[in-house]
């Protein structure tokens, strides 16, 4: 979330799309109701189903799964063609005026630079036009046909209300009504917040779904405002934290990209990731990358990391290929992996195409499952009848199942969706011999290190020299690790403005990431968390809920990264002169000498407004990108592509280009196309979702939750039920090209058909909670049905839109 849970109360309009906060995030959703009650805010819900969020909305519209970009592209077109944008904001704080390369083109569904064989784009023509100094060129009149705003206008002109309705199945009148709601917040003192979740990410166009909304919020001037922002309502209690710790193949902690084979030396690696200025006078905060990376290497390799050896840069593994979870299972399925660890991760339940996952796991030499609960994955080899029809005698995988403690049985921090890091305390020991995750990780590592010390082996240096300063080596304490993450001075850190002053003495915890250095004098495991445990102590354990701001900021409750800032980009809540767009909800302001107010300013504190330092400090250009000049692999502007299993067989936006039916840059492994179903055999659109009574695949192990929702069911509309002769409570079989599940049918008015591209498309709603282990009735895992394909940018699987058939069982 750019903003935070309590801040939702400051909104004038709440759009819930790609999520269902009332059921998936109920205690956060209360702040939506608070906004409705106290600000007379309106709630608009767009969802394939009439959810409980929809039930309390002021306006609801249905949408076919997988067509959000068509809908939101239509909103962009509406805002631009009806002149409902926040002009001053768009001109100053976005790249609307920036000139894009003359070679940029968009032709019949494909952007310039497409390579069909590689299914990827050469992005050279998506860049800014630059002058001799390397600065991007701009046209302040916004009239140049190559400026980002004009390109945006041309691109979305095709998304007329008629086209939107044809693709999404949303009635035109409903779509236009929602456009009016949204357009109302283009006034400088009106804000909309958008709350989305997996409904936007679980698509092959997931990242672009969110980009489309970001463009809308920028056009409306809603970023940085109280009650505004783009707010991802995330999954688990520490999903944000694990993201921040960078446990991805392509990342290191704090969103530092991990090295690949092309980063031959530390210098090349740093140069590639340390952005050069693109416009004059901007903060370009990413220029500090070497400080963050060097501090990380000092935290990991301690005294072994020296300036002479490039701070052990060569010890960091370099990757040459993709290793995201889909790639890992693909490699495993091809027999290229020998060992695998699942720590609190249940791939049979969370990774698509169960038959493929089963086959892959059976090819491993060893599997280690660390979990508080008996997961399905740990028993992939065990026969559970037709629910898991394995033949143990044929599976040679050695499987270890290690009992971990759960949240209530350990100390430590979780980071909530709005970046607030909160300490929690242990309430009891875990059952039996269970150990904490920390003890299990350390237990394995300390043994392995001892083996290398005794017997040697492949490249033992990083194993033997990994910094391990913990008082009890096989039991590092959460406090020790939290302090390491936050960071400390290894030598005195002098004040760059006054050499007679010392910002932090050697051995002291650092106050924040501004104190990090690239000479090895500081160590911090995660720069964005720097300051969470300062000389003042453990700030994540603070429990003062008071809120003198009235905005719900509670700055003394826990610690929000970065720098305890609660609303990101808050400089954009003021006009160019530093005056709040809405004085009634002022986040910060320029007081004549400094930035100050109701939040930690997201700006250099002494940057005078006339210096023109722009609010989006992590972008080199200082402004936000309507046109995405880098980072997006599948296009600088979002475009509607069909889900890989499309009920239409073509993309109505590009009916004559077979290359542009589904995302042209999505990765397709060999065999996947053959595993995808066609509409003639599987005519219905399936979408998966969660219920208010359950949390993913955990609560099926809890008796109370199991009682409230005991068994797999699917929801279908009355029309489809009649057509198929299925009654409420009947047993049904749902099939996809990849497998089948048995379920109870719930026939409901909440699920309906869509009129799309001249035909009727029915939907089958599939809640995603049950399995063959737990206190609920044993069921198939829904991943029997789901397709093995992911988002083009980040490979999140397409769980929200695929094709099935349904029949009485």
């Amino acid at each position: 979330m750019t903003n935070h849970w309590v801040d939702i109360k400051n909104a004038d309009l709440i759009l819930i799309m790609g999520g269902n906060a009332a059921e998936a995030h109920p205690c956060g959703f209360k702040w939506v109701m608070e906004a409705k009650a106290t600000r007379k805010a309106k709630l608009v819900v767009v969802d394939p189903r009439f959810t409980r969020s929809a039930a309390v909305s002021d306006f609801y519209a249905p949408i076919r799964p997988g067509t959000d970009i068509a809908f939101l592209g239509g909103v962009i077109n509406y805002l631009l063609s009806n002149d409902k944008i926040h002009h001053e904001y768009v001109k100053a704080y976005t790249n609307a005026s920036f000139l894009i390369h003359e070679g940029f083109a968009f032709t019949d569904g494909l952007f310039s630079g497409y390579d069909e064989a590689k299914r990827s784009y050469d992005q050279a023509s998506w860049q800014y036009q630059v002058d001799g100094q390397g600065f991007a060129q701009v046209d302040d009149t916004l009239q140049n046909p190559q400026c980002a705003l004009q390109i945006l206008k041309r691109h979305y002109a095709r998304y007329t209300p008629e086209a939107v309705s044809q693709v999404t199945g949303t009635p035109q009148a409903d779509f236009l009504k929602i456009c009016e709601f949204i357009a109302d917040t283009s006034a400088p003192n009106r804000t909309m917040t958008i709350c989305y979740a997996l409904g936007w990410t679980h698509h092959t166009v997931g990242t672009q779904n969110i980009r489309t909304m970001a463009i809308i919020q920028l056009l409306l001037g809603n970023m940085g405002m109280a009650g505004g922002g783009v707010n991802a309502l995330r999954g688990h209690a520490n999903v944000q934290g694990l993201t921040d710790q960078g446990f991805y193949t392509e990342m290191l902690p704090g969103y530092l990209g991990s090295p690949s084979d092309s980063d031959k030396t530390r210098e090349e690696y740093l140069a590639k990731r340390t952005p050069k200025p693109v416009r004059p006078n901007q903060m370009n905060y990413g220029q500090n990358f070497p400080k963050w990376h060097t501090s990380l290497m000092k935290a990991w390799f301690g005294g072994a990391a020296t300036a002479e050896n490039g701070f052990c840069y060569d010890w960091l593994p370099k990757k040459e290929a993709a290793y995201d979870v889909l790639a890992l299972f693909e490699q495993m399925d091809r027999g290229r992996m020998n060992g695998f660890f699942c720590q609190g991760f249940n791939p049979q339940a969370s990774v698509p195409h169960k038959a493929k996952v089963d086959g892959a796991l059976a090819k491993l030499k060893f599997l280690v499952v660390i979990d508080p609960l008996a997961t399905e994955t740990a028993e992939f080899w065990k026969n559970h009848g037709e629910l898991n029809d394995a033949k143990p005698e044929t599976i040679q995988t050695e499987v270890f199942r290690l009992p971990a403690t759960c949240f209530a049985e350990q100390d430590g921090t979780f980071t909530n969706s709005s970046r607030v890091i909160q300490w929690h305390w242990k309430g009891a020991d875990g059952p039996g011999e269970s150990l904490s995750d920390l003890d299990i990780i350390a237990g394995v590592f300390v043994r392995l290190r001892a083996l290398y010390a005794k017997d040697g082996g492949a490249f033992p240096e990083p194993v033997l020299n990994l910094a391990w300063p913990y008082r009890i080596p096989h039991q590092p304490s959460p406090e020790e690790i939290a302090m390491e993450i936050s960071g400390k001075a290894l030598a005195d850190v002098p004040d760059p403005k006054d050499a007679t002053k010392v910002l932090a003495k050697a051995g002291e915890q650092l106050a924040g990431f501004a104190q990090l250095r690239d000479d090895g004098s500081t160590a911090a495991g995660n720069w964005i968390y720097c300051g969470m445990w300062s000389q003042a102590g453990n700030l994540t354990a603070r429990r003062d809920p008071s809120d003198p701001t009235g905005l719900g900021q509670s700055h003394n409750w826990g610690f929000a990264w970065p720098a305890n800032r609660r609303i990101l980009y808050n400089r954009a809540s003021c006009d160019a002169a530093g005056k709040p767009w809405d004085p009634g909800r002022a986040v910060i302001k320029w007081d004549g000498t400094k930035w100050t107010g109701n939040d930690i300013p997201d700006m250099r504190p002494d940057a005078r407004p006339e210096e023109g330092v722009m609010p989006f400090i992590m972008n080199q250009e200082g402004v936000a990108r309507l046109f995405g000049v880098e980072r997006m692999l599948d296009g600088p502007l979002p475009e509607h592509y069909e889900p890989f299993e499309t009920p239409l067989g073509l993309n109505p936006m590009h009916p004559n280009n077979p290359l542009a039916v589904s995302n042209p840059a999505a990765r397709i492994y060999p065999g996947v196309m053959e595993s995808l179903g066609k509409a003639d055999e599987f005519p219905h659109v399936a979408t998966t979702y969660r219920l208010v009574e359950h949390f993913h695949f955990w609560t099926k192990h809890a008796v109370l939750n199991a009682i409230t929702q005991p068994e797999q069911f699917v929801e279908i509309g009355e029309e489809l039920a009649r057509e198929k002769g299925i009654g409420n409570g009947h047993r049904v079989r749902v099939r996809s090209k990849r497998g089948q599940i048995l379920a109870v049918a719930v026939v409901t008015k909440r699920v309906r058909s869509f009129s799309v591209n001249g035909r009727k498309v029915h939907m089958v709603g599939i809640p995603f909670h049950w399995g063959f282990r737990g206190a609920t009735r044993p069921s198939h895992l829904v991943n029997e049905l789901t397709p093995f394909i992911g988002d083009a940018n980040i490979q999140t699987p397409e769980f929200k839109a695929f094709l099935v058939n349904i029949e009485p069982a």
């Binding site: 209690a237 694990l242 695998f340 280690v368 949240f407 009891a428 011999e433 237990g443 495991g525 109370l704």
Partner: protein, 196 residues
């Protein structure tokens, strides 16, 4: 025979004839007292924690029996929302309302186990054996498949034949430590639930 406090005495006398008659009949009134049930949390220890389910990360209060001193087995007997938490303000949702049953689920794992190749069931083992066998597996695979340089001669120091998936419900501290350990080993095949 009567072992009552002044307060209970007043209650008994207020109850009047019924209790007096029982006493006359030779029954001890003590077990028959309609005493107000003790507040069940009065003797518990309160611990502040965070609901592990969705990312609202609601504050919760854990109430446990046992004072956490050494050799005392504490048991959590009640969980409710933390009224001080600025986000959930004491509320919990239907998921969080079942937290106690998750902690005490019959499916909680209690001992390390192994399923040997081809076996039909689990076998209980000790931590020592588990750590030892896993460390040996890791070393054997790493030593056999570690890649120091790629075909072009660039130092890459990677190990990609053992993979790691990390939870989104574990703490920042364990997520960070696991990341540090696996990168130290040269692992590139790693991912987290957070991607999904």
């Amino acid at each position: 025979m009567m072992d009552v406090t002044r307060r209970q005495f007043l209650k008994i006398t207020a109850a009047g004839l019924g209790s007096s008659s029982l006493a006359l009949l030779g029954f001890s009134p003590q077990p028959a007292l309609a005493e107000i049930r003790n507040f069940k949390l009065a003797r518990t220890t309160e611990t502040r924690n965070t609901c592990p389910y969705c990312s609202v990360s609601c504050g919760v209060l854990l109430y446990s029996l046992g004072d956490k001193s050494k050799n005392v087995k504490t048991e959590i007997i009640h969980i409710e929302g933390d009224p001080d938490n600025p986000v959930n303000r004491g509320t919990l949702c239907p998921k969080g309302a079942g937290l106690l049953d998750m902690i005490h689920s019959a499916d909680r794992l209690k001992h390390p186990e192994v399923r040997e190749p081809g076996a039909k069931d689990w076998k209980r083992i000790g931590w020592d054996e588990a750590f030892d066998r896993i460390a040996r597996h890791l070393k054997a695979d790493r030593d056999a498949n570690f890649i120091k340089t790629n075909d072009a001669g660039t130092t890459v120091n990677r190990w990609n034949t053992t993979g790691f998936l990390a939870s989104s419900a574990t703490s920042n501290e364990s997520g960070y430590l696991l990341h540090k350990v696996v990168r130290g080993l040269g692992v590139v095949s790693l991912d987290t639930q957070a991607r999904i």
